[in-house]
Amino acid sequence: MRYTQGAMAKPVEQRDGVIIRFAGDSGDGMQLTGDRFTSETALLGNDLSTLPDFPAEIRAPAGSLPGVSGFQLHFADHDILTPGDAPGVLVAMNPAALRTNLADLPKGGTLIVNRDAFNERNLRKAGYTSNPLEDGSLGEFQVHDVPLTTMTVEALRGIEVTPREAERSKNMFALGLMSWLFGRPTEGTISFLERKFARSPAILQANVTAFNAGYAFGETSEGFSVSYEVKPAPLRPGTYRQITGNTALAYGLIAASRQSGLPLFLGAYPITPASGILEELARHKSFGVRTFQAEDEIAAVGAAVGAAFGGSLAVSTSAGPGIVLKAETVGLAVALELPLLILDIQRAGPSTGMPTKPEQADLLLVLFGRNSESPVPVLAASTPGDCFEVAVEAARIALKYRTPVYLLSDAYLANGSEPWLLPDVNALPDISVELTVEPPVDGEFLPYTRDVDTLARPWALPGTPGLEHRIGGLEKEDGTGNVSYDPDNHDLMTRLRARKVAGIAADIPELEVDDPGGAELLVLGWGGTYGPIAAGIRRVREAGGSVAHAHLRYLNPFPRNTGEVLRRYDRVLVPELNLGQLLRLIRAEFLVDAVGYNRVRGVPFRSSELAEAIEAML
């Protein structure tokens, strides 16, 4: 196919949903391109879901297979649950991107490639022995091989940028073309570029020009005979924004600080995919947020414990390898009975594993990864937007019960985005804490007495006259908190700590089941697999299958009706991105012969594979 530019009005086809994947070299700006396309799409009112997918290397050698960076976006005129199993449209900026992504493109899919990048050198780097644009191997797809680089450079003639800078604008050309193809509004991107390049007018001009040129190329090129329209989705009314899980966590923590009246303190050490929370929070000092980039994860959570002692809403964030390092200090916080949040943005392991890839395999770690009996509540977020609410809820539990709380997210939620209906900040729950401020009448302050309902101990902050006291990691005498080696006291304290956490079950909602009626199979999920599971179930139901769905936000303690729910069904399927961790917990606790669907591939579930797995059990 060849493209010449001509001018004529093009027909517009309706689509109910589209999945696009942008793929290119790490240096090609695919994440930015994807982000911008997503923003345009959000403004248009589609429902959407995104999945960035980038290598652990900062910038692997240009043109190499490990250097490929991708961004997938699913948008639709109805509510959607996942970034989509497989793209309908693949934009491949070079041979490596084509090679690593083509397998996901179904037959008949649309393929837009940058023909200029298919030179011998790049083909060789990608491991091609012949040029796929020429050897007929792409016959099953609708291929548009556009000379993106040449056309961009052409369009930028006269603008005062270096040839390299001109070439680097090709992603904006591609974005412009795609914006035309799917009828996206362009103002947002142009004003975004104006903000981003405010200080370099030439670069700004280059980017805007390339973007407009791409759009115009779509309009005029003969190669693109139709454009597509995807109508807005009937979302709940309100104000929306796109949000990633990491940003939602950061905002949720700021909201929890506001709702508790306690200043926010974050101790963190950078690690993929959790660093974004530190970086986001560091930008909000006007909220009284203190971010402390520590020398390591131990110091990060140590500082958080110190801040908690001083009365902050104290948080520490990390991913697997760092979460492991924090365990001893979290154990101290269990003994101290101080509120503390630990956010684990799970990634594929073991050890360093695949740092940018999602997994759900830290559940047993956060439950059991401390010496001795050391119970800690655990919550997990299910979607990017849900991260906000879960952060507030985790803070509520930590503060009310004076306990460390783990909050689990993952690399998929962290970087993936969805439209988020802005919550009414005035309707957020009050999670303020009753501090102990008055010395008891008899003069002796007992830091390890307990509230009869919550079993929480009093929280008296340094600075409060008359309540001077000492706490520590040695076993403490019930009531006084003095060091005690008494056997019965130790047994009692061990059980009190356990009962305190178990008792939270009375203070959290029951597990809700989405059962259209008559289902014999329950699918039980948790965490970031919510979208694919729900989408898989939707497929099954659309095909006439009857299946119930429940999703756990609370992993410890479980909602009080969990056992009852599980026993209601003949069969229980537990899909997890691990080898069966929740599965093990519910089998032990409820003795139900649930089965797992487990994949540890470092990528989210596809709804299609889940639909198959469910159908196999119907």
């Binding site: 923003s39 959000a42 403004l43 009112g45 947002g188 807005p232 979302l235 709940r236 009314p237 309100g238 104000t239 929306y240 924004r241 905002y251 909201a255 200043p263 303190f265 909000h284 000092k285 006007s286 909220f287 009284g288 947020v289 203190r290 402390f292 520590a294 020398e295 390591d296 131990i298 110091a299 990060a300 140590g302 500082a303 958080a304 414990v305 110190g306 801040a307 908690a308 002692f309 001083g310 001893e328 200090t329 154990g331 101290l332 906000f388 802005l422 919550p423 900040v425 340094p462 600075g463 006259p465 008359g466 001077e468 006291h469 000492r470 706490i471 520590g472 990691g473 040695l474 003095n482």
Partner: protein
Amino acid sequence: MTGGARGEGNGGGLIQLTAKDFKSDQEVRWCPGCGDYAILAAVQGFMPELGLPRERIVFISGIGCAARFPYYMQTYGMHSIHGRAPAIATGLSVSRPDLSVWVVTGDGDALSIGGNHLIHALRRNVNVKILLFNNQIYGLTKGQYSPTSEAGKVTKSTPMGSIDHPFNPVSIALGAEATFVARTIDTDKKHLTAVLRKAALHRGTAFVEIYQNCNIYNDGAFDAVREQRENRILLEHGMPIRFGADGERGVAQRADGTCELVEVAAVGEGALLRHDEHAVEPALAFALSRLAHTPHGPTPIGVFRDVERPVYDEVMQAQLDAATAQRGHGDLAALIGSGDTWQIG
């Protein structure tokens, strides 16, 4: 005296506390004869000078014999985990600039497992006062060698003698950009108190090494300076550095920048080094720290270095204030609604 302690001091009225006010109701549980008792007494004796009410003072420790310290102080306190006290104190101090935060640690706690937190606290200049009780042994775990034990030391874990070259706590602190570094001795209450006073007045991290006798597992480790006072090279700001029974010896500087011990009579008083604890560059303080790698002969005691540098806690607060001044107090609704939003319905 509130400089280092950052408080406005007396609140409403005049606080007249005594050492006794700083004794908690907990029975002290060190071995009879342990040097820790003397340090405890000296610290309790000094506390009233802070001019702060007890509730504004916090002692944080790690694990070890020394780390029991907070239990005995009628202040707020935390007996935390091994090596991590500087990190915990950092979080407390930066989030609560109104408190006076003290760390008590041992040579194992501070320089073995906790070495990294220590050096980072020092470079950051967080406003905490770190008292390192150096007994050159692991006391609580019953007598293994520590990172300050002299080479060749026979202990339970080194029956043929240790093969590690020890740290010099003052040298490593200076190498780690510390702004206040001092050394003193458990039994010399007056000197110890004077050093505590300067540490408290210092804005930022103050690092105080205290030679502490462990009479059970390492008795007499410091006798050369604890018992033989003539071996104490007393560093006094602005004074020529002299020592010996009658000040007959002194410290001079060689051409290569190192320090040497000299007879005052031989070189004349004018040839002696004059101590400047406020010297901006730590080079001379470092050279002095090399005079005695382990305290087996003449050993410098006193404040090696005391200089000003921005205090971590204060700069963090200043950033918060600046951000608030620029943008106003954070508005949650505005925050979550920032960036591109759109309206449905």
